[in-house]
Subunit: 306 residues, 2 copies
């Protein structure tokens, strides 16, 4: 992990990065800063210093998350293929190797299935992020409108200070500012709410996938113990394989363990040195938070824009 505890400005540039530096940052944001401080000091507080590139950044992020999904989907597919090929190879071997590889294949196939289920949940997470992107995009016109009126007033005051249009525009500006205040408050609320819901959902899905994969790894290792790897001498036979019942039982046990796994029984919990609102050590508190997060999730995703 990174000693600077931030992804920003953490890395010395590589030779390739020095050879082809990124394009200079857009100046849009900075000119927006300047103008907005003329237009209204009411804006401070509720609104954030967003530029129009903001919704582009999140759009890009949401698109890139699709690439993550596709890569995991591909992994899942490849895993199911190797699972089948492992079983196919083992079939030509002696009974013990044949049975164990077939059962290993069942477990590895299951990894692929779990990864596919994770992809479905990852998509839900991604869709939740889209609602932040949508509110970001919808806030932009209200900012633009306010800016346009402000510019018009400044222009008229310079060119024709007595113009009767000025008080009309000023009234319009007050309305535009009110609308903008609402939009910025919506943006502030929705961003936080959706970031929390989306990432809680992703992390819950990741925790489920991860704990289930760890379980499968354990059952896989139990299967391997059925394989007698003591060396035989030339001409010597191996004792007949009698592990069929045991291997089947391991798969049944694995199936049951996966089916009965629930988030609130998760075995792996973080150890936090600062205890606070984000406390997750205490099981009960944790469960309450879980339930709240799940209720919130259900609530917000009924009317989700896909």
């Amino acid at each position: 992990m990174h000693r600077t505890y931030s992804l920003r400005s953490q890395r010395a540039p590589t030779a390739a990065q020095i050879a082809s530096p990124p394009p200079p940052p857009s100046s849009t944001k900075f000119s927006f800063f300047g103008k907005s401080s003329i237009s209204s000091s009411l804006k401070k507080g509720a609104t954030s210093n967003f530029g129009p590139e903001l919704s582009r950044k999140l759009s890009t992020f949401v698109k890139m998350e699709k690439n993550v999904m596709r890569a995991i989907e591909l992994t899942a597919r490849e895993r199911r293929e190797v699972a089948k090929q492992l079983s196919l190879w083992g079939e030509g071997n002696d009974d013990d190797v044949s049975d164990v590889t077939d059962k290993l294949g069942v477990l590895i196939y299951e990894i692929g299935e779990l990864e596919d289920q994770f992809v479905d949940k990852y998509d839900q997470y991604r869709i939740t992020l889209k609602s932040i992107r949508n509110i970001e995009a919808s806030v932009q016109p209200s900012r633009d409108r306010k800016q346009k009126i402000t510019d018009e007033i400044a222009h008229l005051k310079y060119k024709d200070p007595q113009s009767p249009k000025i008080p009309v525009l000023e009234q319009e500006l007050v309305r535009a500012e009110a609308e903008s205040l609402v939009a910025e408050a919506q943006l502030s609320n929705i961003t936080r709410e959706k970031v929390k819901v989306a990432f809680n959902y992703q992390f819950d899905a990741l925790r489920e996938l991860a704990e289930k994969l760890a379980l499968i790894a354990g059952y896989g290792k139990a299967l391997l113990e059925l394989l007698d790897d003591s060396a035989i001498t030339p001409g010597e036979g191996r004792p007949a394989y009698d592990g069929y019942e045991a291997s089947k039982q391991i798969i049944i046990d694995a199936e049951n363990a996966l089916a009965s796994w629930t988030l609130d029984q998760a075995a792996i919990r973080p150890t936090l040195s600062i205890r606070g609102d984000y406390e997750t050590q205490d099981g009960e508190l944790y469960d309450e938070e879980e339930e709240a997060a799940e209720a919130e999730w259900a609530e917000h995703n009924g009317s989700e824009v896909k």
Copy 2:
């Protein structure tokens, strides 16, 4: 998971499979069976009923595992990219969103790093399988040689039963059979040993990745708690963000938890209903097995053919 507990003959064929059925199985294996029972009954016991297509199946399997590796590598790369983009998007937001998304980015970037480490271990697993493929391939010539001599003797006995070549060939056959017995015993031993070592290694690597991902998910959820998502009204400001220390500490805690994770402290263990040699519930026994597996691993991979 699959109710039949096997990957073989478990699925009803799909419409696509019915439309283009797989090619018929090679007949090589079956003709080999027939002839070998003429040539020698010594063969029984130590040798297995392998056909030449066997090393092809394992070769295919080893190649397919490369596809799994590539898919996980791609996932790791995409994850690091989204981590950076998340941090980049968050940077334009208010302090709380900016800090939390940046730290989430650090955690997600770390997932990518862990996946890359897993890929390296997966490659070691794959290389270990190659040694089975190599022994399979090397056993084939000794089988072929024995077969060829057997055929020559049969041919001569029919054409020229008094040929002085026959006793010479018969002596040669005895030597070829001895060599073949050794080769088949080696195949039997190496296959079991390497399957065990390789898959134990894969499952240990998977367990490590999985438990670490579950830890990261937990720390990610702790970070999200720093985000104040209480709704504000238009014009209302949010209290100043004071989570910098806490978020940094969560990342430090996560870093420490990942760095101190060891296989013998793994939290997730399978629940097995049949106890036997494959027992993995008992910590001490487990550790001994782990150490044995690791020693075995080190031993066998010093001289590994890559």
